[in-house]
Amino acid sequence: MKTKKIFTYLIVALLSFTLLAGCSPKAPTDQPAADVVKIGGNFELTGGVAEFGKKGENGAKLAIKEANEAGGVLGMQIEYVGADNKSEAGESTAATTKLATQDEVIGIIGPMTSGNTLAAIPVITEYGIPLVTPTGTNSTLTVTEAGALNDWVFRACFIDPFQGEVAANFAMDTLGATKAALVIDQKGDYAKGLAASFKETFEKAGKEIVASEQYVAGQDTDFRAILTNIKNKQPDIIFIPGYYNEVGMIIKQARDAKIDVAILGGDGWGTGPIVDIAGKEAMNNTYYVDHVAADDPALADFAAAFKAEYNQDADSFAALGYDAAKLLIAAIEKAGSTDKEAIRVALETMSGFAGISGDINVDSATHNPQKSASILKFVDGEKIFAARVDPK
């Protein structure tokens, strides 16, 4: 009986705590102090793609920490306010609303996925807050299907069509492929976007896509059925524009099924565990498009700092999170004020920004950064620089 009572009190206490945390209006007393710049982060901290969200957030946090250590921005310290979108579109809308209206941030970094970014756009547009997504690569984020520009959205990465094109050209010109198979993550528009532009480029050159198979990221672990189909079609190369988690498993299972052809992918591959998952041997004869040359010294510094801060290996998610935050901070510096419209204009006209993922020149008509891409090749588990492709 006694424990029962204690637990009842515990629950009541817990509930009232959360209710208070949730309901107490912070409005007037909580106004940001004049010497603090508030930057929000809307990341996938829980749910299906939490791993990427966490990496991206850590990258962004590191950038902010470094900026603060170097004296902040416009002489003010930067305060980072995080929000979790649970890897879910609706929650992303809610998290953005929270950042915009409760925390009153002047800029937002994140989310990592295009879908969650799409869900944030109406809110930032309504409240006029510039947003920089580290890895939202879908082309419609900045320019809608109807051709309208989303004024407040920017990104630190190149867009899907560019990557797909780069990969297709590499497959045809360097690898001499004429028959390609696609393995697409059905859940992600990222993979679909890459695959679509790959296919377009490839077919335009008169080559053939012999198979197009789909899987569901975060759910599937067994890809043998689709790989059996692909093997049957005998392609010269396989293009897998997914995230490293599934890609690692697919490559492993493909090699186990004695599919020895070259395998190509996008920047979603760019993290360490892909080699651990697939195995060094299986990763031979695979290539992927990345933002950075692995031997760039700036990247090495970042990787070391990241490792020291979070005891985690940096990857392209972390790097792009870092760059997205730095891009936003640079824009504030350039704007010379914390006025959101001024920051937006500064982002729109940003050029020559030196990020660790490459130099960024924002195209003011599309808000897409003009970045060069690198193609990296795996040799015994090591990434080797294979080619650099500049934007046209």
């Binding site: 029962k4 637990f7 009842t8 515990l10 629950i11 817990l14 509930l15 959360t18 209710l19 208070l20 945390a21 949730g22 309901c23 209006p25 409005a27 901290l45 829980t46 299906g48 995080g82 929000a83 979790d84 649970k86 890897s87 879910e88 579109a89 609706g90 809308t93 809610a94 998290a95 609303t97 929270k98 915009a100 209206t101 409760q102 295009s114 879908g115 799409l118 869900a119 756009i121 109406p122 809110v123 879908n138 419609t140 059905q186 859940k187 992600g188 528009d189 679909k192």
Partner: protein, 310 residues
């Protein structure tokens, strides 16, 4: 007895006061848009929880496919509003009706199943619905489907009030009692002339209708609908609200939906702990109050009752 008796008028008054206070606070910026969004979500979840309660708490059928009906309502209303340029009202009605139709279609064969079998079958159906929309590129597919925000707090609140009124009226009518008799003892209900299949399907269809309505409100409020939102975890969440509030208690579902949604929003600043705390609340509450916060009792406005002389 009439619709506009003192009790109902007081209820209406309370609703209007609640609405008025919140609206006043919002206009005066004491409630920021994030809290407002939370309140709208509370309204949406109340509709979902009460409609799940109709199926599970009152009719005794453990169905776990509510997210699927919500998805149908959301996508079908978006279809009307975005793709066919229809009005919001038409969208909401179409969404809810399509969900109800799906509920009836699904209910007819599956409601013959009992207990856990029904649960797993409906869970499977919910997933099939989600996978269907995932494959529908016409409705956004994996990217999600952008829907303009045309619903505000006023809409959500009064639609919620109307839904709860209709569902509680149903449960307190002879047809609702027939549903309850199915929960209480199916064989005896049959022997008393209750066509149990019919009432199960009726409850299921009604639950689906209001889940679809909630989905339509969600779609037209949240800017973007995405198949991932309607996974079976959403059905679990809704069921958890119902059970926490108390099976067979309408006001319990209202409280359960409110508490869980607000806890989730209130812990937004502690994302790592949020789900762990929600999980703990679920476990502790069930262990110490297995019948939910309110059991099958209703919260009443008795404290407002005018005392009779004598």
């Amino acid at each position: 007895m009439k619709l506009f008796n003192v009790k109902n008028l007081i209820r209406l008054l309370v609703l209007m006061v609640v609405y008025g206070i919140i609206q006043y606070l919002f206009i005066n910026k004491a409630i920021n848009p994030f809290y407002m969004m939370t309140l709208v979500l509370v309204c949406i979840y109340i509709i979902l929880a009460v409609s799940q309660n109709i199926i599970t708490g009152f009719t005794g059928q453990l169905a776990l496919g509510h997210a699927g009906f919500m998805a149908i309502g959301a996508y079908m209303s978006a279809l009307v509003v975005v793709r066919m340029q229809g009005s919001l009202v038409a969208g909401i009605i179409f969404g809810a009706l399509m969900a109800a139709a799906a509920g009836m279609l699904i209910g007819l064969p599956t409601l013959r199943l009992r207990g856990d079998y029904l649960a797993i079958a409906t869970l499977g159906l919910g997933e099939i619905v989600r996978i269907f929309f995932l494959n529908m590129d016409y409705l956004g597919g994996a990217t999600g489907f952008s829907v303009p925000k045309t619903i505000d707090w006023t809409w959500a609140f009064w639609l919620m009030a109307l839904s709860v009124f209709l569902m509680s009226s149903f449960i307190n009518s002879s047809h609702g009692r027939a549903c309850i008799s199915v929960r209480e003892n199916e064989i005896a209900a049959e022997a008393m002339g209750i066509n149990t299949t019919k009432y199960k399907v009726m409850a299921f269809t009604m639950g689906a209708f209001f889940a679809g309505l909630a989905g339509a409100i969600y779609a037209n409020y949240m800017y973007l609908i995405h198949p991932g939102t309607f996974s079976f975890l959403k059905s679990f969440e809704i069921l958890a609200m119902v059970v926490l509030g108390g099976l067979g208690s309408i006001t319990g579902s209202v409280v359960g939906a409110g508490v869980l949604t607000i806890i989730s929003a209130g812990l937004a600043d502690y994302p790592e702990f949020r789900m762990v705390i929600i999980a703990l609340v679920m476990i502790i509450l069930m262990v110490y109050r297995p019948n939910g916060l309110l059991g099958n009792k209703e919260l009443k406005l008795d404290f407002l009752r005018i005392k009779k002389k004598g």
